[in-house]
């Protein structure tokens, strides 16, 4: 017993992870547990290499258990001017990992005075994720163009890396991969490449419950980056014939104070 209480001399300690797991199993938190409530991007993300560059795609649904938490979130993150990254898994992990990596890559550029290579970003990400042994649940698709040409990688939460001509990740990865396996060709032109990624993401949106709403696309070529937000949109919500209307007095009130407010300048509030 005593031996197990000793503080380990070297290496990382995952005692807190164990403690959290234990707390969760003991106190009957059930579905209200913090860890379980974390917003996930039950996701379809995908990327391919085409003739002159890389196309990245993502759906825009974020879920929290069976509930859609965000109908139009952004899952294609900036890493460097020539490198972008799609994230699946826990939203917070994806966002923070990519944000941190974007900062580190900026510093790297300032230090070296050169454009970042995709492999640099991938290596830094995989080493970072490996240190946390999968507890940072970010599954990434990294794509970019550098001095060596276009390249595409996936990084799993435990830190393993794959380099392939077409990749998918997230809960809709199989639905999207099926489209790639059926339709990928070497040396695709730009537009067919974009269309293939669109079809793959749409396949995830239609068939996977964790994915939904719109298609986002980012195209990276040596000439620059083009970002298409909501390139394909989900059909709009049914428009009610009897929109809700609550007459004044629905909620009881006891006092009324009217004051005049002058608006000097400002935009209309965002809806």
């Amino acid at each position: 017993m005593e031996a197990s209480l000793e503080i380990p001399k070297g290496g990382f300690s995952f005692d807190l992870c164990k403690r959290n797991a234990w707390l969760e199993s003991q106190a009957n938190y059930g579905s209200s547990s913090i860890i379980k409530k974390a917003k996930k991007t039950g996701t379809t993300i995908a990327g391919i290499i085409f003739k002159d560059g890389v196309v990245l795609g993502a759906d825009t649904r974020a879920t929290s258990g069976p509930i859609v938490a965000d109908k139009n979130c952004e899952k294609i993150h900036y890493l460097a001017p020539n490198i972008f990254c799609c994230g699946a898994g826990t939203s917070a992990d994806c966002e923070n990992v990519t944000e941190m990596m974007a900062s580190n890559l900026t510093l790297h550029r300032l230090n070296t005075g050169r454009e970042c290579r995709v492999i640099t970003a991938v290596t830094m990400l995989s080493q970072y994720l490996f240190r946390y042994q999968g507890y940072i649940s970010a599954a990434l698709v990294v794509g970019g163009v550098d001095s060596t040409g276009p390249s595409l990688y996936t990084i799993h939460p435990h830190g393993s890396v794959d380099q392939l001509p077409f990749v998918t990740m997230g809960s809709g990865s199989l639905a999207a991969m099926a489209v790639f396996e059926a339709g990928y060709q070497e040396g695709l032109e730009r537009q067919p490449g974009i269309d293939l990624v669109r079809a793959a993401i749409q396949s995830g949106i239609d068939n996977d419950l964790g994915s939904g709403s719109n298609v986002d696309i980012t195209v990276i070529t040596p000439e620059g980056v083009q970002r298409f937000r909501n390139l394909d949109k989900a059909e709009p919500k049914y428009k009610s014939k009897n929109p809700l209307f609550y007459p004044k007095g629905t909620t009881k009130y006891y006092d009324e104070i009217i004051s005049k407010v002058a608006i000097i300048e400002g935009d209309a509030m965002e809806q």
Binding site: T148, S151, D162, L174, A178, V179, E181, S203, D206, N207
Partner: protein, 233 residues
């Protein structure tokens, strides 16, 4: 020796042994098509290479199965017995595909109630009175009819492609879709093979084809060098 707690339910088939993977079913113009590969896996071992998983029942129906193959052979013999006695009555009243689907659903549900399931996902395809039929049953008794059905891993990989293809297909087109889906399934499923079998049911009756090989492609130049620490092409 450890004894089981009293509250443990008694179980028989706790896991499948020799298994088959995805069965695909699709309606096309004028009929229904079933397709699957012929691999019988023993865990991750590709144990039997030519196992037929499509069974003709009566004159209008084919049943395809994924899951435990011994359980399916039991089901097949049950169905054969039933269709024999059905035709022995000679009353001009034969079981329809829907009848067989419902019957299988009841069998599966009753076995799950005994905690002794028949570990299968079955697809029933039929054609009767000018109407196609396609239905699915699984080991707990889930039953549904649809125009497009895929079981086990085919659910994740093939169903999206089949839904994309739709059901407005000629027989030849439907065959292309099935072959293509099973090819993609083979690319992504460790438990499927390239030796496949296709059955069609239409006004002409049941036709179960012989197993044949489908082609695959691994020639992408980008596949030849994928170590990310290594040299690039």
């Amino acid at each position: 020796m450890k004894t089981k707690p009293v509250a443990e339910p008694s179980t028989r088939t706790q896991q499948p042994i020799v298994t088959g993977t995805g069965v695909l079913g699709i309606k096309y113009n004028g009929g229904v098509m079933l397709a699957c590969d012929t691999l019988g896996s023993y865990g991750s071992l590709a144990r039997f290479r030519t196992v037929k998983r499509l069974e003709k029942v009566g004159d209008f129906t084919v049943v395809g199965a994924s899951g435990d193959l011994s359980d399916f052979q039991k089901i097949s013999s049950m169905l054969r017995e039933m269709s024999t006695s059905d035709s022995a009555y000679d009353d001009g009243c034969n079981m329809t595909p829907r009848d067989i689907h419902q019957y299988l659903g009841r069998v599966m549900y009753n076995r799950r109630n005994k905690f002794d399931p028949l570990w299968n996902e079955l697809v029933v395809a039929g054609f009767r009175d000018g109407k196609p039929f396609l239905g699915a049953v699984d080991l707990i008794g889930t039953m549904y009819e649809d125009d497009i059905i895929a079981t086990s891993f085919g659910n994740y990989v093939c169903l999206p492609l089949m839904r994309k293809a739709g059901t407005n297909l000629s027989k030849e087109e439907a065959k292309q879709v099935m072959e293509n889906c099973l090819r993609v399934l083979y690319y992504r499923n460790t438990k499927s093979s390239t030796k496949i079998q296709i059955a069609t049911v239409s006004a002409e009756g049941v036709e179960i084809g012989e197993p044949f090989e489908i082609s695959t492609y691994w020639g992408y130049s980008a596949f030849q060098h994928t170590e990310y620490h290594g040299k690039r092409l």
